[in-house]
């Protein structure tokens, strides 16, 4: 008999419980304004890099918070650290520090690995 039910393709689902959210935790600790993002996209709209290549700081932040870190690792290198994003953020998120911290976390996993 055919089995129906919750058999969803693994890659489609955010496996929230299994995903490793230690990079996000590391950023929360060192840059508390990381919690203030409301996903408005102001940063991404103005971003120098994101207007030419697939790169959204808003998206990277939410991916980190969900533990979808693989998608962030290489992408974050596209940021040019121009700081335009922090000029528009309505929540005063210290975007540049978040990027720096994420990069550091990826380079030195022992900083945050559990």
């Amino acid at each position: 008999m055919e089995k129906f039910g919750f058999k969803i393709s693994k890659t489609r689902v955010i496996d929230f419980d299994q995903n490793d959210k230690s990079v996000a935790e590391f950023i929360y600790t060192n840059e508390p304004s990381f919690r203030l993002c409301i996903e408005c996209g102001g940063c991404s709209a103005t971003c120098t890099a994101g207007n030419f290549i697939p790169f959204s700081l808003r998206e990277l932040q939410i991916l980190l918070k969900r533990g979808e870190t693989e998608k962030v690792k290489d992408n974050i290198e596209k940021c040019m650290l121009c700081g335009k994003c922090s000029l528009v953020c309505p929540r005063g998120v210290n975007t540049r520090n978040i990027i720096e911290l994420a990069k550091r976390a990826f380079k030195t996993p022992e900083l945050h690995a559990v």
Binding site: I38, E39, C40, G41, G42, C43, S44, A45, T46, C47, G50, N51, P54, S56, R58, E59, V88, C89, P90, R91, G92
Partner: protein
């Protein structure tokens, strides 16, 4: 019936309602208004949400409320000084009057956020970037036109201008601008049936009576489009088209759109008059700069000063229904206070 003299500061919706209620209970009321006539912001508004009734119906009601022998309306008047001692206020006006009162009601309302402060949105820089208030004037005049006289075909509405924005020092939500955007979007379509209208929002805050229904109606009957993202800036093309920059956050990609007209949903701020009152009399204000009432739940009309009460949107953004209810509650508090004082 009770007796007592009450000064009401501010002749907008809240002040007019509280004055009317107090006069009918027997108080003698001095209603002080800085402008040349009472009525407040609603005078400048054409139609009201959610039902789009003509605002004149409400201003007519308010005019009837203050049409009472016990009310003295002092227009073009501001307060210079105010003192309190032996249970009596002495209120000195800038034009040299001195009024004694047993109680004072502060109903100084709000000021609209000055949109030119949000420079990146181009108000005062580009033609055809207007505010929600400017659009109401156009509605009242019955014509929606660009500065060159043409009819706009593509219109963008920007939510949260001067609200929920740390960059301008206002972290609170003004509460009325989402529903105003929806209302104005529908009215634009009524004037310009061929036009396309796009609302750029961060969250649709539809928490009032009939708001969500109005939102739905705007989609169903008027074809209003909603795009989720905070506008980062407005620019102009060489052929004088406005261009908006936003991330379409639900698609996850930056979006560009050319528009003929942009309407900014200006938020609400503590009024300058209210700030002066706070200074003159040491009234407590909150982080949002509006007056801080004595208790958020059961003392929203009481202040930190005996016999001085708050009415309306000088304490927080409020719609007209809420303002009138809050003003009636303020009148009840004043009456209760005067009764106790009589005994």
């Amino acid at each position: 019936m009770i007796t007592g003299n009450v000064v009401v500061v501010g002749g907008g919706v809240a002040g007019m309602e509280v004055a009317g209620q107090l006069a009918r209970s027997g108080c003698m009321v001095s209603l002080i208004e800085k402008e040349s006539s009472a009525g407040g912001h609603i005078k400048e508004w054409h139609h009201l949400f959610p039902d789009r009734r003509n605002s004149m119906e409400v201003t007519d009601y308010l005019a009837r409320q203050i049409n009472h022998d016990n009310i003295t309306l002092l227009t073009g008047t501001t307060i210079a000084r105010m003192g309190y001692g032996k249970k009596v206020f002495t209120v000195d006006t800038e034009n040299g009057k001195s009024i004694s009162a047993d109680a004072v009601v502060v109903a100084t309302g709000f000021d609209l956020f000055r949109s030119e402060r949000k420079e990146e949105y181009g108000y005062g820089i580009y033609d055809n970037v207007i505010t929600s208030a400017d659009l109401e004037v156009m509605f009242r005049n019955g014509e929606i036109k660009l500065t060159d006289g043409r009819r706009p075909e593509k219109i963008g509405i920007v939510h949260c201008v001067g609200s929920r924005d740390e960059k301008v020092g206002n972290i609170y939500c003004s509460k009325l601008c989402c529903i105003t955007a929806v209302k104005q979007a529908m009215e634009l379509k009524e004037h310009l049936s061929d036009a396309r209208v796009y609302c750029f929002y961060m969250d649709m805050r539809m928490g009032g009576a009939l708001y969500e229904e109005t939102y739905r109606e705007s989609q169903e009957k008027y074809g209003i489009n909603f795009i989720r993202g905070k506008v980062s800036e407005v620019g102009e093309t060489i052929d004088h088209k406005l261009i908006i920059k936003v991330e379409d956050t639900l698609v996850g990609r930056p979006l560009r759109m050319e528009l003929d007209m942009i309407v900014l949903m200006a938020g609400m701020e503590m009024s300058k008059g209210g700030e002066q009152m706070a200074q003159i009399f040491g009234l407590k204000t909150g982080e949002n700069r509006f007056f801080a009432a004595a208790d958020h739940h059961y003392g929203s009309n009481e202040s930190n000063v005996e016999a001085l009460f708050f009415a309306g949107s000088c304490t927080a953004p409020m719609n007209i229904t809420e303002t009138i209810s809050h003003a009636r509650a303020a009148a009840a508090e004043v009456i209760c206070y005067l009764r106790k004082a009589e005994r």
